[in-house]
Amino acid sequence: AEPVIGLITKTETNPFFVKMKEGAQAEATKLGAKVMSAAGKTDGDNAGQVTAMENMIAAGAKTILITPSDSKAIVPAIKKAQAQGVMIIALDSPTEPANATDALFATDNYKAGVFIGQYAKAALNGKKPVIATLDLFPGHPVGAQRHNGFLQGYGLTSLDAKSNELAKPAEVVCMADSFGDRAKGQTGMENCLQKNPNINVVYTINEPAAAGAYNALKAAGKEKDVLIVSVDGGCAGIKDVGAGVIAATSQQYPLRMAAMGVAAGVEYAKTGKKVSGYTDTGVTLISAKAMKGVDSKDVKTGTDLCWGNK
């Protein structure tokens, strides 16, 4: 029988995870494996992921790829699965401790934040930053890592990569939750502009939120004066970079992660050899306008690569 590989993402709906599923599916078709997918109901739904893992093992999966919703809480379930001979690979973000999984194919969200922070600082060119942050929602580690990474990259007081809280130095005049959603990104930006019309840098958790923020800025006639930076590097997001909506974004590669994971799973099924260790699938800063002293790739490269097409 063809090897069964499980893929558990955080949610159904994030295009990032949809891409990941596509990558896994494509690789599986190529290698003759079967992929079953499941997800938590909401971001942060650890119990849902545990349930999915158990059910996949019951369905005969020998390798499970998981983007942990809760890096710590998932660990005991992973241990149980490994005890049944299942290889567990973390995708996108590590567990805590990272060695709880057999291997990790991931991106560094903190680093992604650092990149856009550095970019924003260079772009502002010494001007005093007045920052608004459109974050995910309370309690989400990725939201905290990107946010804190951004501030770190900008050289402001920040928290380390382990923290799940959002740093709030004086330069950040407004913080709003966007839920990674366009409409709520727009509402958040509108309220922030109301609070402080002098905002000149906007950090957004992802590109839909950035597009929403841009809408709000445009309605206020400020889209030219404000710098928006974001994270993800989805195809739509890169297009927005090209269109001048987003100044820079940190691109990540979900397709690549998933494909590598599936390949490892097939290998394990054939030879019984497990992969191990951390493979950084990389983060690339994409921007239409390069800044001195900050490494970035142009929009064309970004479009070609978007989420790891190649």
Partner: protein, 319 residues
């Protein structure tokens, strides 16, 4: 045989209004940017989508039902109208009509399951919630639809009115509220909606076709979600497959904050508008105060209880 819930006095819009005014006074005292026509037009624009969803939700709750699917059906409508326009090149009005047709169809489906097979509305709409969500994700590939024709943004355009910028969408929302208020108060059909919610059996015995009334309400609610989708698309300039997820609970909250009883038959539609505004004012005011998001949630929790308690106590005083 009268039950306690039947004995509650009909809640007016006055209680919620007091709560809204108190909230505004509070935020005005905390932030000097709160009290400006500019800011109020902003809040109106922000509650426009939830506000229109909540009209449909109010109708359903007045009949002692509930619709959990409202937000997801709206999201599906938004995706359908934008994708039809962008992918198939349909003209804006046709594409919008298709979106409205889809949401209305979902309303019809809900209505048929509730009236014909007599399933509890909670379960029916929990089912269609999942169905609409899955279809939205599958059909859109979870991708936001952008580059929509300019016509679709029209409702988001604004005009100036005494210092405030008002969008056509807000005008449409207010118009829909007035229309629904009129229809519920002044027409036979509107009174039948109340009667069905108040005592379905008595209404049936009077010879009113209760099933038709119910079905009509679900269909109209579906239409409202379609109109809300138009507003959402116009506001964000895109078809967003992840829209509507928080609007679901927000809409029900607006209805209940507005004083409509979840047991049906009692409530005033304008209260729902006030309820939606309360939600919008909280979110706006707390951000203006610079309250960080976890604390915002905490404060929202406390304020929601306080708002309804004010209402309750004000009505006690009146009696």
């Amino acid at each position: 045989m009268n039950s306690f819930k039947d004995k509650l006095p009909p809640m007016g819009t006055l209680g919620p209004l007091i709560a809204l005014v108190l909230a505004c006074v509070f935020f005005a005292s905390q932030s000097d940017r709160f009290l400006s026509t500019q800011n109020f037009s902003l809040i109106l624009a922000q509650v426009m989508v939830v506000g229109v969803i909540a009209i449909g939700q109010t109708l359903i709750i007045l009949t002692a039902g509930i619709d959990l699917s409202c937000g997801m059906v709206m999201a599906l409508g938004g995706i359908v109208m934008t994708k039809f326009a962008v992918d198939y090149g349909l003209s804006t009005p046709v594409a919008m009509a298709c979106g409205l047709a889809v949401t209305t169809l979902f309303g019809y489906l809900n209505g048929v399951l509730v009236t014909r097979i007599k399933l509890p509305p909670f379960i029916v709409t929990l089912g269609t919630l999942n169905i609409a969500f899955a279809i939205t994700q599958l059909y859109s590939g979870s991708q936001t639809v952008t580059d929509i024709p300019a016509g679709m943004n029209w409702l988001g355009n604004t005009f100036s009115l005494g210092g405030a910028t008002v969008s056509y969408g807000v005008v449409m929302m207010l118009g829909l509220y007035l229309f629904t208020w009129f229809a519920l108060r002044e027409t036979p059909a509107g009174r039948h909606v109340y009667a069905v919610g108040n005592s379905p059996e008595a209404t049936r015995l009077t010879g009113i076709p209760t099933e038709k009334v119910l079905l009509g309400v679900y269909v109209l609610a579906g239409l409202c979600y379609g109109l809300a989708a138009m507003l959402g698309v116009a506001r964000t300039g895109a078809g967003d497959p992840n829209a509507g997820q928080t609007e679901n609970l927000d809409a029900i909250t607006a209805v209940v904050l507005g004083g409509t009883s979840l047991f049906g038959g009692r409530g005033v539609i304008l209260g729902t508008l006030v309820g939606a505004l309360i939600v919008g004012v909280f979110r706006n005011g707390l951000t203006l105060m610079g309250v960080s998001s976890v604390y915002q949630i905490l404060v929202t929790g406390i304020l929601v209880i306080l708002a309804v308690a004010t209402d309750q106590l004000s009505r006690k005083g009146a009696r």
